[in-house]
């Protein structure tokens, strides 16, 4: 009887650990929303989201320029990262000999593991001066931020889409090759179309990482609250806004920064729901092997 009770308690205990992440998410949402609520009440939801001016000292709290800033940086990063990472994923899944694969796997893991501050630091000391010399301006620009984000989201997109390509049944490929198609024709007409849901998931995950990145972007983007006219203009992302001003914010300004986090939270949730719609379950890739 005692044994049974023990078993029962253990099961319930494990259940609590399992729902812990849900509890935490609810807590995060509750606390961030609670602190952000005054800005939505006092300043108005629409004024806050679509307001063009961010001037906390004058009581202006519009985050629209930063929403556009975040989206611009992310889209430019995706434009650069998606082609390279899809090519690289196909290379790893279909073409690379095992020796090359053995080199690429740890390379991609290391790229994924480098701390974001180190990427930001590299951008600050290498990319920013390079862009300043090549294109003029200060170098702190949307382009610098996007290049750094490109490198940061490469590993995400590569590993998830490679995984998707690998999970396509062998028969598909063999049938295509048996019909006399070349390797490239097989990739183009069979493997790529079949792995589209996984590739979309990969891109959305990369996008989520890019939108959520904070310090690396702060260090290179210039952080001016304006809608960028060209890719050489400085921009401020939503994340940067919080990190830059939280240190000294009080009153409604403080609430406005939590409000910024609420906007960010909602953007990420929308992405997650879209990713779940494509419903591609990725395997966990670690240490050069699939666990």
């Amino acid at each position: 009887m005692n044994k049974k009770l023990g078993e029962y308690l253990i099961e319930k205990g494990l259940f609590i650990t399992a729902i812990f992440s849900i509890i935490i998410i609810l807590l995060i949402f509750a606390f961030v929303f609670r602190e952000g609520l005054p800005i939505f009440q006092d300043f108005g939801v629409l004024n806050f989201i679509f307001g063009m001016e961010w001037a906390p000292s004058d009581g202006q709290f519009g985050v629209f320029t930063m929403i556009i800033g975040s989206l611009c940086i992310t889209l430019l990063a995706l434009i650069m990262a998606v082609p390279l990472s899809l090519l690289c994923a196909i290379f790893m899944a279909e073409i690379a000999p095992s020796g090359m694969r053995k080199i690429l796997k740890p390379v991609i893991e290391t790229l994924a593991g480098i701390p974001s501050v180190v990427y930001g630091f590299f951008g600050l000391i290498v990319m920013v001066p390079l862009i300043r010399v090549q294109f003029g301006g200060t170098g702190f620009s949307m382009l610098s931020a996007s290049i750094i984000l490109t490198v940061m989201i490469l590993p995400t997109i590569i590993s998830v889409s490679e995984d998707a390509m690998r999970s396509i049944p062998h028969e598909y490929k063999e049938a295509s090759l048996a019909l006399g198609a070349t390797q490239w024709q097989t990739i183009k007409n069979v493997i790529f179309p079949a792995s589209v849901p996984g590739i979309i998931t990969a891109i959305i995950l990369g996008m989520g990482r890019a939108i959520g990145e904070t310090l690396a972007v702060i260090m290179v983007a210039g952080n001016v609250t304006q809608i960028p006219q060209s890719i050489m203009d400085p921009v401020r992302a939503l994340t940067s806004n919080i990190a830059l001003e939280m240190g000294y914010a009080t009153g409604l300004h403080y609430n406005a920064l939590f409000g910024t986090a609420v906007v960010l939270f909602i953007m990420i949730m929308v992405l997650l729901v879209i990713a779940n719609y494509y419903h591609y379950k990725k395997k966990v890739v670690i240490g050069g092997g699939y666990l």
Binding site: E7, E11, G13, L14, F15, T17, A18, I19, S21, I24, I25, L27, I28, V32, L84, L87, C88, I90, I95, L104, P106, V107, E109, G113, P115, S116, V117, V118, F121, F122, L124, I125, L154, I158, A181, T182, W184, Q185, I211, G212, L215, I218, M219, T239, I242, A243, M246, G247, F258, A261, L264, I268, M269, L271, L272, V284, I286, G287, G288, L291
Partner: protein
């Protein structure tokens, strides 16, 4: 008649070199970044840099308090997140039967994994620092990082527990063990290398994070005595040094220390996984 400039054979040849180029470019990107940081940073690293306190707000001196701070927050994160992550993984792979609950919990973990680190930071500030009254301390920072490490530990642990063959469990249950005895004595020992890898990866995420602890750890330069003191872990130190232009030399050194730590972690997990896979294949 279809108009074709490039024959399939040539297209195959061209695309093959494009694919090779993309793979090589990826390798080159890594070599440039790591190479640059290490080349510039390693000259700044010496015993004094690692063992001395910073002076003049980080302009000179070493990074000893930052190393200790990083150790503290990472250990707190690991100690708090491991039982939660592994426990959740055990529940999901061994107990949960209802599909809806499993889906719900998985969605929860995925969401936790994709919340931006700065949002974790704000939560840490309003919940741990202010609401629970823990103040700006390494404990608050470690707890925030535990929440970030949790999804990683959970995901890897779940996969490695599920990889333990059914026959192990059946053998143990047939001998009269209870479910928990089976898990504790048979399933977990078999899954340990995978779980360890998950813990290392989770702690790696914790040790390299700065945005989430920006407003939580207090960013003090002095040597922390206990986890209740404020501190400044390595990535945060690097951020402050570089973004405020305090000392580029020390920033290079700090960045190199972080990169070396990361390389060690990557090699460690690779060896572990290789061993694990050999063991699972060898049967």
């Amino acid at each position: 008649m279809p108009f074709k400039i490039i024959s399939p054979k040539n297209a195959q040849r061209i695309m093959k070199s494009v694919f090779w180029a993309s793979g090589i470019i990826t390798v080159i990107i890594l070599i440039i970044i790591i190479g640059y940081i290490l080349l510039k940073g390693i000259p700044a690293i010496n015993l004094e840099f690692l063992l001395a306190n910073p002076s003049d707000s980080g302009r000179s001196g070493g990074i000893a308090p930052m190393i200790v701070s990083s150790l503290y927050v990472t250990l707190v994160a690991g100690i708090v997140a491991t039982p939660l992550g592994v426990g959740a993984a055990i529940y999901l792979s061994e107990y949960a039967s209802e599909n809806r609950i499993v889906k719900f919990i998985r969605f929860g973990t995925e969401t936790l994994a994709s919340i931006p680190s700065i949002v974790f930071g704000l939560f840490g500030l309003s919940f741990f620092v202010i609401f629970l009254g823990m103040g700006w301390s390494l404990l608050s920072g470690g707890l925030v990082l535990a929440l970030m490490a949790l999804p990683t530990i959970f995901q890897v642990a779940e996969v490695s527990i599920e990889a333990v063959p059914r026959s192990y469990r059946e053998g143990s249950l047939a001998l009269g063990s209870t479910k928990w005895e089976t898990i504790y004595r048979v399933v977990l020992p078999a899954a340990i290398p995978g779980i360890t890898t998950g813990i290392i990866l989770g702690m790696a995420r914790a040790i390299s994070e700065a945005a989430a602890i920006l407003f939580v750890v207090g960013s003090a330069l002095s040597m922390p005595i206990s986890i209740f003191d404020p501190g400044r872990p390595l990535p945060l130190h690097l951020f402050v040094l570089a973004s405020e232009g305090i000392s580029m030399d020390n920033a290079y050194g700090t960045a190199a220390v972080l990169v070396i730590l990361l390389l060690i972690i990557t090699v460690l997990t690779n060896t572990l996984v290789e061993k694990y896979q050999k063991k699972m294949m060898g049967r």
